[in-house]
């Protein structure tokens, strides 16, 4: 940014001084600040008539977001625990919405949040996701442990509300959010509003939660403060940013503005586009037990942008065979009209394009059980987590309708089932290498349970039904942290067996295209060398050109004893440790339950061995790597 000297800056406030003052501010903070200054400049009744020196005003603005009204409002902290960046995104949007209401929020990342600060919080909005089987995101681990542990302080003065992000296809849905919520209550804190649990498509519920809790807070401020008119910086900032002329903001939601459906592309990358499939290749050689596809979609003309590390959301259609099975199992008429989310559709279309059929979740079972009281088994399954897990495993909607028949109408079915969610795939390409394209590496999920062949809804949609020339509905899901290091000279170690190799293809392409000087080390694994070495010839080329420095391979079935990626890491322990000591980032992508856990364990062993310290030291070392965002996972 450069400001012309002809703009008449006061003495001592030149370009450099302004830059120094604002260097640490984020773009959002800068936007806010510009609004604030604009407000100061245009509001004749402002207290700034006293003409405090500009520098003083700036410092004040940066330190405390707005000039204090007559009665100091309670502190408002928005605290997020984010793995993929969604919680962070919501936190920032919530903060923006708060400012629009004249509130002065501080946004904090749990990753950097000193646990002792908790005791002095007054109003706390907690936004956190849940990982896997109910674990907190890495960034929230410390706070979570502290809060749930015996050292947590009593918090009678605290008022709070929790927004929990999760995925209903997991049994421990939103577990971390639930734990935060219940524990804060147990420590004596008061709920501002009830906790909201969000499924994968979180935008709408998150916006509603934010509106509700912020309205409560804004109302309190309004009643406690004499009406001084819209004179706060925040209000003006909003006016400046949105181009509207202020007025009452209570009913304006930042979320509604940002929500894809409401207005054109505020976050362009999250707007679905119809992408044409350019190429589809089965990557596994003949005789492989695996079935992995490489897909190339065209982004031409869409303006859709992404970075290596981001995921592509793909909206599947259910297989026609599965839809037919559902119709038959429930004896539904294919063309029956049903209402779904305010839309009138025939049942076949709803089943094909709108409703989840492959995976059963707790909420679906609850709604179904309520309509089928004649099946005690369903109610027993809902009694506890282990029973529920056992019941849901491998069962789909057809199994449910067949094994526990209930006389549902087509409309009831549409209401019982959950919306068909899009699935996220780690992007396997770099726009620098393939402008206007996005590539995916998709493993077709097929298995047999309950005597029926089951298919992964989205993987098999792409494997079997999406042909070259067809279009699919896709959008980008930004990854906040699983990104290449800022510094191109930083080394990276990438552990990506199976389809976990996808983002690393993007990473290496990007670093090759941009001439990054950091070394790239890939550890890949799969069952067999001859058939399952995904992108083999590309890696060979990268090795030859030096854009891949090391490639270690673990083919589990090529010898009597099973060798996996963690074994290769252990074999290379001195090198792994040396790279880490030299500042390397360590990435893991792929299977969560076994692989990622085994890799973590191997890494702990390596750190302990190579440092000559104990296991506690190793655990702390790994924890620091995580906190510094140098140990990053994209696991599923």
């Amino acid at each position: 940014m450069s400001i012309s000297s002809s703009s008449g800056l006061p003495l001592g406030l030149d370009d450099k001084a302004l830059n120094d003052l604002t260097a640490s501010l984020s773009s959002q903070q800068l936007v806010w600040l510009s609004g604030y200054l604009y407000g100061r400049a245009t509001d004749a009744t402002s207290t700034s008539a006293a003409a405090a020196p500009a520098q003083q005003a700036l410092s004040a603005a940066v330190a405390t977001p707005a000039p204090a009204p007559a009665v100091a409002p309670p502190r408002l902290t928005i605290l997020y625990g984010s793995q993929t960046g969604n919680s962070k995104k919501i936190a920032l949007q919530t903060a923006e919405a708060a400012r629009q209401r004249g509130l002065e929020p501080t946004v904090r990342d749990m990753n950097e949040y000193p646990t002792r600060a908790l005791a002095s919080e007054q109003q706390l909005l907690v936004i956190t996701s849940t990982q896997g089987e109910g674990e907190p995101p890495i960034a929230a681990e410390d706070l979570h442990k502290f809060l749930l542990g015996p050292r947590a302080p009593k918090l009678p003065a605290l008022r709070y509300s929790v927004l929990a992000l999760g995925d209903k296809s997991y049994v421990q849905f939103c577990q971390t959010g639930i734990e935060f919520d219940e524990r804060l209550a147990a420590l004596g804190a008061q709920r501002l509003t009830e906790r909201v649990d969000c499924d994968v498509a979180y935008q709408e519920s998150a916006a509603e939660w934010a509106d509700r809790v912020l309205d409560v807070l804004a109302q309190e401020v309004a009643t406690a403060t004499p009406q001084t008119g819209p004179s706060t910086g925040a209000t003006l900032a909003q006016a400046a940013a949105s181009g509207s002329n202020g007025g009452s903001q209570a009913d304006i939601s930042a979320f509604r503005v940002a929500a894809p459906a409401a207005t054109p592309a505020v976050q362009h990358d999250e707007t679905p586009i119809e992408a044409t499939l350019l190429e589809k290749i089965q990557l596994n050689g003949r005789g492989s037990a695996k079935e992995t596809y490489h897909l190339e979609f065209s982004l031409e003309g869409s303006g859709l942008q992404y970075e290596p590390g981001d995921a592509l959301m793909v909206q599947p259609h259910n297989r026609p065979e599965l839809v037919a099975d559902v119709l038959q199992a429930g004896r539904f008429e294919a063309s029956t009209p049903v209402k779904f989310k305010g839309e009138e559709l025939d049942l076949t279309t709803a089943l094909t394009e709108r409703l989840e059929l492959s995976v059963l979740t707790r909420d679906v079972l609850e709604r179904y059980a309520a309509l089928a009281p004649q099946h005690p088994t369903l109610h027993e399954a809902l009694a506890g987590t282990p029973q529920l897990q056992a019941f849901l495993y491998g069962r789909d909607v057809v199994d449910l309708l067949t094994q526990f028949p209930a006389d549902l109408s087509a409309q009831q079915l549409a209401t019982v089932l959950r919306p068909l969610p899009a699935r996220a795939y780690s992007i396997a390409s770099s726009l620098s290498a393939y402008p206007d394209e996005v590539h995916l590496t998709v493993s077709a999920v097929r298995y047999e349970t309950n005597g029926r062949q089951k298919h992964g809804a989205c993987s098999v949609y792409q494997a079997d039904h999406l042909n070259i020339g067809d279009t699919a509905r896709v959008w980008v899901d930004r990854s906040e942290y699983f990104k290449l290091p800022q510094d191109p000279a930083t080394d990276i170690i990438m552990v990506g067996p199976g389809t976990g190799v996808a983002p690393f293809r993007a990473f290496v392409q990007e670093r090759a295209e941009t001439g990054a000087t950091g070394r790239n080390w890939l550890v890949f694994g799969n069952p067999e060398f001859t058939t399952d070495f995904l992108y083999q010839t590309e890696w060979q080329q990268h090795l030859k050109q030096g854009t891949l420095s090391r490639l270690d391979l673990a083919f589990s079935r090529d010898q009597a004893e099973k060798i996996y990626v963690q074994h290769r890491l252990l074999e290379q322990a001195p090198q792994v440790f040396k790279w880490l000591e030299d500042g390397a980032h360590f990435y893991v992508c792929g299977d969560k339950t076994r692989m990622a856990a085994d890799v973590r364990k191997a890494l702990l062993t390596i750190i302990q061995q190579q440092s000559g310290q104990d296991s506690e030291y190793a655990a702390e070392y790994l924890k620091q790597l995580k906190k510094q965002r140098r140990y990053l996972e994209d696991v599923y």
């Binding site: 990557l283 596994n284 050689g285 058939t531 070495f533 060979q540 391979l553 010898q559």
Partner: protein, 570 residues
């Protein structure tokens, strides 16, 4: 123009290889690729192996971002073609464990395993060695497997000729300890294990080995089943009352040629004299070393002994040979070859032992539906007390079957659907040879082994029409002109030009002493049948008593009889 010869690429690789080591150890340890370093693909041949790829899958795998499906063919030397039941069982097991679960019996009496992945190569070679077999010099610019008529029914003479072939084989085996080092972990017993404190040395070959491959075969008249004249050095056994006196020496045979290069050609060996049995090993060494010194090392297309001879003249060569021998070869003795094929079914030897010659289509020992040949032979090997003999025609003799096992051998074969006498087969099928060709041979332009059975089925319709089904006619098919199945010695020779197209050669003799000649080019299957049908008709109608098909096509002028390699293309 400089007089300094510009050595061929392979010569440079050999020179730099430190007695065939090259970077093979690194190649084997590299997990990123199933291939060897490019230079090592030349050196691995000396260790008995060719790097190949499944050509059927090349374009598919390229699209799949997978490298070609590389594997190694390993050729196991079996001097004289005789293997013990233990050795047979081991080959059977290694084929299943590391290969494509088939064994190829080659036209040079060796076993070939196909489809061995790089990571399993060492274990496989290890496995041979444990049963006293090896693959060293299976391929490469050295003396290859020494062939010998496996004929067990002339047992006394055979014993002596076989002994000579083994002596020749071991005398000409490379001495480098690279084989022992790379494959046997420098531990197991092997001829290549170095004596303490002795540096690597190749007393016969030198550090650059021969300019090109070198082939030796021994034959016992009247059988020419080893096709002696197709070898660089052919030795024809001369006996008197069951005692081996020595050999007629024939030099300069070789099959290979290159399309579009008329200066390359197949050539039959010339008989230059007679050598007594006790001097035969020395004679072999001298022929080999003259070729070592005189052979062309600039252009591998002209490196074989046949070109050395035609370049310098037979006389110049024999003069040098006599000089190096220290004596003049005696004049050749009379002999007579009657056939180059195998006779199938049971026979009894002069010592009363029983032998069964089995027809092996394309030399491929495999289990196929209703025809579990590999299983049958494995079961037989488990009780058989005699031996197994690989013939030069890709067939197998189960030799010296104990009288108590005669019925079990018979029953085992029948149980697995193997026709014992082969009498239900046409004469054409029984005598047919095919090289491996597609999908693994990198040189092939066209199909051979995989295609031969179906081509024969088409041809058999014609034979039936002309009532020639039981006539023995020698048919040989190769996928390229390099000559592995000795196509230029077929009464009908088919040499692949491109997929589905063959050059048709006619007129070789039934006993392997006359080359055939090009009759028609670029025929597809229908074209072949249409071309051959009138000749078959003519043959049935107009052949003289006992006249062979090859001789007939010459007499009737379908082709001119070639007198020697140089006029092969004339």
């Amino acid at each position: 123009m400089s007089d300094t010869p510009k050595l061929s690429e392979v010569e440079l690789i050999k020179t730099a290889s430190n007695y065939l080591r090259g970077t093979l150890a690194d190649s084997l340890a590299n997990p990123i690729t199933g291939a060897l370093n490019p230079d090592d693909t030349q050196l691995i041949k000396f260790h008995g192996s060719y790097q190949q790829a499944d050509r059927d899958l090349d374009s598919e795998r390229k699209r799949q971002r997978l490298e070609p499906l590389y594997s190694l063919m390993i050729r196991v030397r079996v001097p004289g073609g005789i293997a013990t039941p233990t050795q047979w069982l081991r080959m059977d097991e290694l084929a299943e464990k590391f290969g494509n679960n088939t064994l190829k019996l080659t036209t040079r009496q060796t076993f070939q395993l196909h489809g061995v992945l790089k990571r399993n190569l060492k274990k496989t070679i290890h496995g041979f060695n444990q049963v006293l077999m090896d693959s060293i010099a299976g391929c490469g610019d050295v003396n290859r497997n020494v062939m010998c008529n496996p004929n067990p029914y002339q047992s006394e003479v055979h014993e002596q000729v076989y002994a000579a072939s083994k002596r020749i084989s071991s005398h000409l085996t490379p001495r480098t300890s690279a084989y022992w080092e790379l494959w046997l972990d420098g531990e197991q017993q092997h001829i290549s294990a170095p004596a303490e404190g002795v540096e690597d040395d190749e007393p016969i070959y030198g550090r650059t080995y021969l300019p090109r491959k070198f082939k030796i075969a021994l034959a016992i008249p009247p059988h020419n089943d080893t096709d002696v004249f197709s070898n660089d050095l052919g030795l024809i056994a001369i006996e008197e009352d069951g005692v081996l006196l020595g050999f007629n020496v024939a030099i300069g045979g070789g099959m290979g040629m290159t399309f579009g290069m008329p200066e390359t050609y197949p050539r039959l060996a010339d008989i230059i004299g007679f050598v007594p049995t006790d001097k035969v090993v020395d004679l072999c060494e001298k022929v080999v070393t003259i070729q070592r010194d005189w052979g062309n090392r600039e252009n591998r297309k002209f490196s074989r002994l046949k070109y050395t001879l035609d370049r310098l003249g037979l006389d110049t060569f024999t003069t040098e040979l006599n000089k190096r021998l220290g004596y003049d070869l005696e004049p050749a003795r009379p002999y007579e070859f009657k056939s180059s094929g195998d006779a199938f079914g049971w026979t009894t030897g002069t010592d009363g032992s029983q032998h069964l010659t089995l027809f092996i289509e394309g030399g491929r020992v495999a289990d196929r539906p209703g025809h579990a040949l590999k299983t049958a032979l494995r079961e037989i090997a488990a009780f058989h007390t005699g031996d197994f003999r690989l013939t030069g025609n890709q067939n197998l003799i189960i030799a010296n079957v104990g009288p108590e096992h005669h019925l079990s051998v018979q029953a085992t074969l029948v149980k697995h659907g193997i026709e014992v006498a082969g009498s239900n087969l046409s004469g054409l099928r029984r005598g047919a040879l095919a090289c491996v060709a597609l999908n693994t041979c990198s040189l092939a332009f066209a199909e051979a082994e995989r295609y031969l059975p179906q081509l024969l089925t088409r041809l058999e319709e014609s034979l039936k029409t002309y009532n020639l089904t039981q006539d023995d006619i020698v048919l040989r098919v190769t996928g390229c002109p390099n000559g592995c199945a000795r196509p230029y010695l077929g009464e009908i020779g088919l040499v692949g030009r491109s997929v589905g197209r063959y050059n048709l050669y006619l007129g070789a003799s039934f006993n392997g002493d006359r080359l055939n000649k090009l009759y028609k080019e670029m025929l597809d299957e229908d074209g072949l049948i249409e071309t051959l049908n009138p000749i078959f008709a003519d043959y049935v109608e107009n052949r003289e008593l006992g006249e062979r098909f090859g001789d007939f096509t010459i007499r009737k002028g379908y082709v001119q009889a070639p007198t020697q390699g140089l006029d092969f293309h004339a």
